[in-house]
Symmetry: C2
Subunit: 119 residues, 2 copies
């Protein structure tokens, strides 16, 4: 129904590490930052792609860009452009195959810690 081709501008393709290139240390480092952990938790909670602008983060636009790049380069998320928005998604299945249980236990730990602190 849409007459226009779905293919986005090739110049706006983003580099992602292949599953086999994902390194545990980088994943852990990416998750060790509060802002990035928050992003990952929001993505996990939504279960869907989310545009960068949907996140309510306590940092500037340029810092936000930085954190999303770290997450992408670590292999935790995938990013692709949709119009003017940049969509972000957790690479859950790949991560699960690579490091079974890791992401879930981190997410559970984060939830638990928030519980303990918040009340």
């Amino acid at each position: 129904m849409t007459p226009r081709a779905q293919t986005p501008n090739a110049a706006r393709e983003l580099e992602h590490p292949a599953a086999r290139e994902i390194r545990l240390e980088e994943v852990l480092h990416a998750l060790a930052d509060p802002v990035r952990l928050r992003i990952v938790r929001a993505l996990a909670a939504s279960g869907e792609e989310m545009a960068c602008s949907l996140f309510d983060l306590p940092v500037s636009k340029s810092t936000t860009t930085h954190h999303f790049r770290v997450l992408r380069e670590s292999g935790l998320i995938s990013q692709n452009y949709r119009g003017t928005a940049k969509m972000n998604a957790l690479r859950r299945d790949e991560l699960e195959r690579l490091f079974p249980g890791l992401l879930d236990s981190v997410l559970a730990a984060a939830a638990r810690q928030e519980e303990r602190r918040g009340g």
Copy 2:
């Protein structure tokens, strides 16, 4: 010989964070360094206390001291002096109560990554 000022001993007890003070971000950060991850894996593999000198690490003595301190302050390990040796132990049970499954999944992930790389 010139009498030197006597430094108070104080080398007996080391400060450890209480279980409730352990922060997920710090634990992840501690695990994100290759040298420290190696230490944690060795401790997990041995299942017992280990003196610092038993680890075969690719860094100097002072850097070793630094890494063990980061691990202790993050809550991952406990340390206590036994004679001239400093004994290190994983705080497995406490970590497990705090963040169930987290340590195990990180250890499994590390083992898996080594398999994949080392063959």
